[in-house]
């Protein structure tokens, strides 16, 4: 390792830029970030729903273009979300909820433009660090991961699933229950090894399993629409007029932002490395850190620029960092990543450590497109803020029926099968009921995408060990992963049982209200 790895990484990155600069790839990247930026501003349309809706449209595109576009939606939405939080005090997306605390007061003081300008810059810094991390860390991780046998892969997946479901949002037990449900949904269909039909209830349509698109659109499309229909939201656009001139921060602002930016980046990249702690956690941790470090913590919430910069930087750094385990190990950290992996699988690409060596154009093209996409976003954001704010006034009553059509035709087009449209409706209904019961549907998708591979490796590991379960503890790397799983569970139980003493800190309550 050492220099040769870095040198190869740089050459490969160069190749990636060639791929990403191909005209049609550039176009898809542009469409992706533009759409992402737009939905980031619109409340009630998250990146998950958007990626699910766009997913069927990508069947006709080559895998590289498809993944560039879908990933673009993902990080483009992060830029859009900040606009909403700062100018309108609407936490459209959970990672940006904490930005409202200081972002909106700044807007009220007439400094919204400055907040936005600094945010755009901070986001870019955070994202750049995340990408750099990806360039150098992913190949190293892959080197390690290629040594993994089925037992290691299996325990790693277990850790990923557990972390993804317990650390994310809401009650950990409910999260795990949802992951298990997702794993079970992944079982539906014909068994890969024996050809036996499982849970098909005699329906021929279910022999191929549940369609990923039907699941994603049902849970995050229809479920979300049911959640937001007729919810009267008062959008206050009084402060939302921002001129380009207002966006330039003063020298003092820049000076105050530098250290929060660095701290935010560190927090974000750390959170990205721990599976399951996505951008939402990162932004709240960054805000809390900033408050602790500050000499004037009581001023937070009144429009402190540090309180805007730190969470935004960490969000972006962690969004980009989330791609590392997804692309190098094939273990998605959250539902969006799981969906992107699913998109790759639909294109016939097997995720896992071999992805980088077998499809270098996809991996390095994606990395290169991150740079391009982020630069595009910085350029786009400045003139388009006004337009996005106007878009907020589009009534939901026009938005969701049109989106319903995209859901229907998208699911139909995936396999030219009407049955799956019905499947989506049923999943949407179940997903909504679960959501109302306080179960977050995101872990279902995580379990669903990983399920078949988990089962395959689990069986293979047991086949090699002749049915001896001890194989998972005897192999050292696998034992470490299992140990981490146990530690994670123990920690959760400990947190649960500890008596609540001094009430809850601000970020925690804010986190809950954001859900």
């Amino acid at each position: 390792m050492g220099w040769p790895v870095i040198a190869t990484a740089l050459t490969d990155l160069f190749h990636g830029f060639e791929v990403a600069f191909e005209p049609h790839n550039l176009m898809f990247c542009f469409i992706g970030v533009l759409v992402g930026n737009m939905v980031g501003v619109l409340p009630g349309m998250g990146p998950l729903a958007t990626i699910s809706i766009l997913l069927p449209l990508t069947f006709g595109i080559k895998p590289v273009g498809a993944i560039l576009m879908l990933a673009g939606v993902m990080y483009g939405a992060q830029y859009g979300g900040a606009i909403c939080s700062i100018l309108l005090n609407l936490p459209c997306h959970p990672p940006h909820a904490v930005t409202c605390l200081d972002g909106f007061p700044m807007t009220k003081q007439g400094r919204g433009g400055v907040a936005l300008g600094v945010t755009v810059f901070a986001s870019f810094v955070g994202a750049s660090w995340g990408i750099t991390e990806m360039i150098f860390l992913a190949p190293v991780l892959v080197k390690v991961a290629l040594e993994f046998g089925p037992a290691e892969i299996c325990s790693l997946m277990l850790l990923g699933l557990l972390a993804g479901s317990t650390l994310a949002r809401g009650s950990p037990v409910k999260g795990v229950a949802m992951t298990v449900l997702g794993l079970m949904l992944g079982i539906v269909g014909t068994d890969i090894e024996t050809g036996a039909e499982r849970f098909t209830f005699g329906m021929t349509h279910l022999y191929d399993g549940i369609e990923l698109i039907a699941l994603a659109l049902g849970l995050f499309g229809i479920g979300e629409f049911m959640n937001s229909v007729n919810q009267v939201s008062l959008v206050n656009t009084k402060y939302a007029k921002v001129r380009l001139r207002d966006m330039r921060p003063s020298k003092d602002d820049i000076k105050r932002s530098i250290f929060p930016m660095i701290r935010g980046t560190l927090v974000g990249s750390l959170c990205a490395l721990i599976p399951g702690t996505g951008p939402t956690i990162a932004s709240f941790v960054a805000y809390a850190t900033e408050k602790k470090v500050s000499r004037t913590p009581e001023l937070f919430g009144t429009g402190m620029i540090e309180g805007v910069v730190a969470p935004e930087t960490s969000t972006h750094s962690s969004v980009q960092g989330d791609f590392i385990p997804t692309m190098s190990l094939g273990i998605p950290g959250d539902a969006v990543m799981a969906l992107l992996l699913g998109a790759l699988m639909i294109q016939g690409i097997v995720p896992g450590p071999q992805l980088i060596s077998e499809h270098p154009d996809i991996f390095w093209g994606l990395v290169a497109s991150f740079w391009i996409g982020n630069i595009l976003l910085v350029i786009l954001n400045v003139p388009l803020i006004g337009l996005w704010v106007k878009m907020l006034t589009i009534p939901y009553k026009y938005l969701y029926p049109s989106a319903m059509f995209f859901v229907c035709i998208g699911v139909y087009a995936a396999n030219n099968d009407m049955f799956q449209v019905g499947e989506t409706a049923v999943i949407g209904f179940v997903g909504y009921v679960l959501m109302r019961l306080g179960f977050h549907p995101a872990p279902i998708l995580l379990g669903f995408v990983l399920g078949p591979r988990f089962e395959e490796n689990f069986r293979r590991a047991l086949l090699i060990s002749r049915g001896d379960l001890a194989v998972f503890v005897e192999r050292p790397i696998s034992a470490v992963f299992i140990g981490l799983c146990v530690l994670l569970i123990a920690l959760q139980v400990f947190v649960r049982l500890r008596p609540k003493k001094n009430g809850r800190t601000v970020p925690q309550t804010a986190l809950e209200s954001a859900e």
């Binding site: 449209l57 006709g60 009650s171 037990v173 409910k174 795990v176 229950a177 298990v180 449900l181 794993l183 079970m184 079982i187 068994d191 090894e193 024996t194 036996a196 499982r198 849970f199 229809i222 629409f225 049911m226 959640n227 229909v229 007729n230 919810q231 939901y396 009553k397 026009y398 969701y400 029926p401 049109s402 319903m404 059509f405 995209f406 859901v407 229907c408 035709i409 699911v411 139909y412 087009a413 030219n416 009407m418 449209v421 019905g422 989506t424 409706a425 949407g428 209904f429 909504y432 109302r436 019961l437 306080g438 089962e455 689990f458 069986r459």
Partner: protein, 141 residues
């Protein structure tokens, strides 16, 4: 919250159905089924212990039965009309039924929206993306 516990208790046995399968392909489903039952009990248990005090409602503050029904009926309308008459009626019905759910929807705005979405939808999916679905036909299935 008690209702919530009840729902979980009712759900438990229905998961059990999936656990009975022959050993080979049925091993993982069985294991998962058992885990899920345990989790269900844990959730129901914790739901029962905090039943007092916390007042969480299963339904949101405003109950939009009609709107929810419309949203769920919309894909069904797409299936029915799409299979019977092709893409144009399918799309139109789908958007129309979904738009019906909004509280201040007017007939005119619904018709206009459906027409616009149908026009662009058919243009995009049928002509540009070449989805093999008949645009218009009579009494198929």
């Amino acid at each position: 919250m008690i209702l919530f516990g009840l729902v979980m208790a009712l759900k438990g046995p229905s998961y059990r159905l999936g656990t009975l399968m022959h050993m080979g392909p049925g091993f993982l489903p069985t294991a998962l089924g058992v885990i899920l039952i345990c989790l269900g009990i844990a959730i129901a248990g914790s739901a029962l212990t905090v039943a007092e005090g916390e007042d969480e409602d299963l339904l949101p503050a405003n109950r939009e039965w009609f709107a929810w029904g419309c949203i769920l009926a919309s894909p069904l309308a797409f299936m029915l009309f799409g299979a019977l008459g092709g893409m144009i009626p399918g799309t139109f019905a789908c958007v129309f039924v979904a738009a019906l759910g909004d509280r201040d929807a007017t007939l005119k705005s619904m018709l206009a929206l459906s027409a616009v979405v149908t026009f662009f939808g058919v243009l995009l999916f049928s002509y540009i993306l070449q989805i093999p679905m008949p645009v218009l036909r009579w009494g198929g299935l």
